[in-house]
Symmetry: C2
Subunit: 329 residues, 2 copies
């Protein structure tokens, strides 16, 4: 079997825990018991050597892609294996050579996201955004809250992350409503409704979680009308992408007390600058895009997907997690 020439393209500021390196690649091959031989080249996006390396590579792995160079020098690539899930930053996909498959690692973040969703639901139910705001003001401001069991969570997105959030909600005794583009009964949800009817359904939710990809259809989805349709005192969370939310509209809904609290793990822009009004918005909890990545398992799990896809490529089988550029996920 010919060795597979693999270009490993790191981002300049990848933390060590999220780096693809030789030992981790070898470990993944061993886990898979794979007969593949891989010849890896390790470069950082922005390195001028990429232009020389790309035409000889069969596959590329990374998340911070040199799209302009791929357009001009990547026609030979058969597979681009992303080490992340969202592809909104790669759109439009006119840089993608016609015979190159683009795959993501959707699915490997489910266990971590499930715990984050359980935490977010419990925090919203227990009025933790209120208590965090009160703490900033040095106020002992009591609010007793009932248990969460029996309440309703509406989860936008029924993919890997949405399903993980639904699992967390069900474990806490919540009723789960999934929202997806084409409504259809979906494993793990008590009900599933279509995106087109979400405004009418929003008043049923005690808690809303966005776990959607960012596409032209979902950009700015949660705006003034969305928050107005939510029940007074409801809670809101976003684990998808910051641009799913009209941030000024969210701040207004919180400042007016219409929503009891919100918890966002994504924002626009990221890194959110220190002078952003979001930081001090009442009853808003912010975390810096950490809901999905378990540093102990993330890269090993991503490389398991890579090795699987390289095997499928070699054997002429359909690839796993292939992104549809027309849909944007």
């Amino acid at each position: 079997m010919h060795p597979i020439r693999l270009l490993v393209c790191s981002a300049p500021d990848d933390p060590p825990a999220l780096l693809v390196d030789q030992p981790r690649l070898l470990a993944a091959l061993l886990r898979a018991g794979s007969p593949l031989t891989i010849e890896p080249t390790f470069l950082t996006s922005g390195d001028p050597a990429l232009a020389d390396a790309l035409p000889h590579a069969t596959a590329l792995v990374g998340w911070h892609l040199p799209t302009d160079l791929i357009r001009t020098h990547g026609a030979q690539l058969r597979l681009i294996q992303l080490t992340n899930a969202g592809v909104d930053n790669l759109s439009p996909f006119d840089w993608l050579p016609p015979h190159t498959a683009l795959c993501n690692v959707s699915g490997i973040q489910a266990a971590k996201l499930q715990e984050w969703a359980a935490m977010a639901l419990l925090m919203l139910n227990a009025q933790m955004p209120h208590f965090a705001t009160a703490q900033r003001a040095g106020l002992w401001s009591r609010r007793n809250t009932p248990v969460i069991a029996g309440k309703t969570a509406m989860i936008f997105g029924t993919g890997s992350l949405g399903t993980a959030a639904a699992r967390a909600a069900r474990n806490l005794g919540l009723h789960t409503i999934g929202i997806r583009r084409r409504p259809a009964p979906t494993e793990g949800f008590d009900e599933v409704l279509g995106l087109a009817g979400h405004i009418a359904a929003l008043p049923r939710a005690d808690f809303v979680i966005l776990a959607l990809p960012l596409t032209p259809e979902t950009r700015g989805l949660a705006g003034t009308a969305f928050f107005a349709a939510m029940r007074t005192g409801a809670g809101f969370a976003n684990v998808g992408r910051g641009a799913l939310v009209d941030q000024p509209a969210l701040c207004t809904a919180l400042e007016r007390g219409h929503l009891a609290g919100a918890f966002i793990d994504v924002a626009t822009p990221e890194t959110l600058p220190s002078d952003s009004a979001l930081w001090a918005t009442p009853n808003l909890v912010i975390t810096p895009h950490v809901s999905c990545d378990d540093p102990l398992t993330y890269i090993p799990d991503a490389l398991d997907v890579l090795i699987d896809n390289l095997s499928r490529l070699t054997n002429g089988q359909p690839l796993r997690n292939q992104v549809d550029p027309a849909l944007g996920y």
Copy 2:
């Protein structure tokens, strides 16, 4: 059957959700299908009419007790049914008439506390105290954390609240170590150790939760030596009483970064004043004593205990949840 003369003693600032009133008493009798007849008198602690009413009462229910009046006018009382769990504020018990039983409602807070403990463990694992501190400073400060499953929680107290915390921990896949005065295998814990050996055991814990009554033996338990024995980067939570903790020692452990985070639902004093240094201590999350009380079920559940104990009293059976003044719980 003679009617039971019941003195209902409210605190001046009881919120409506936590008030014992006639409809709630009747509803409890109906739930129990009880043949008892109750003649209630409703007074507020501090009302001068208490001195006249006490000598005629067989039972008293409340939590803000007129202990001086009970000492002088309460010798006829057969039962004082507290609507709360902790009795530290009633110690020493020299005001308690010799033939009066003191009972609490230990047990009714378990469901709410279990959710609070799950939330606290997930928040400590996910570095939420760090993110809350970073948010106050307007800082997007990423820290990726692994899932919580497989870690170890050490829970001080194996009573109703400690057992509920252990149930939360086990549901999240944690190993649970219980700490109690007299070590003995205890339902719901993977191991149970004696309080005397807690310093040696502390380095095993990723997370420590205090769910103990406040007694002379437990006052100030979590101090400099305690925190020093905890593992660097571990998390700490307290749902018992504020005075279990040496608060300056906790602040020091957090300021030095020895502990990654702490979450306290109780403090000294309560209400914690606005100028307390605790509010701005890094990586410390504070909630205002709200971890245990579900406003929808708390008083109904407490009154179920009351009706049960009045039946037992009438039938000469042992009472439920009787407090031992010598032990202080």
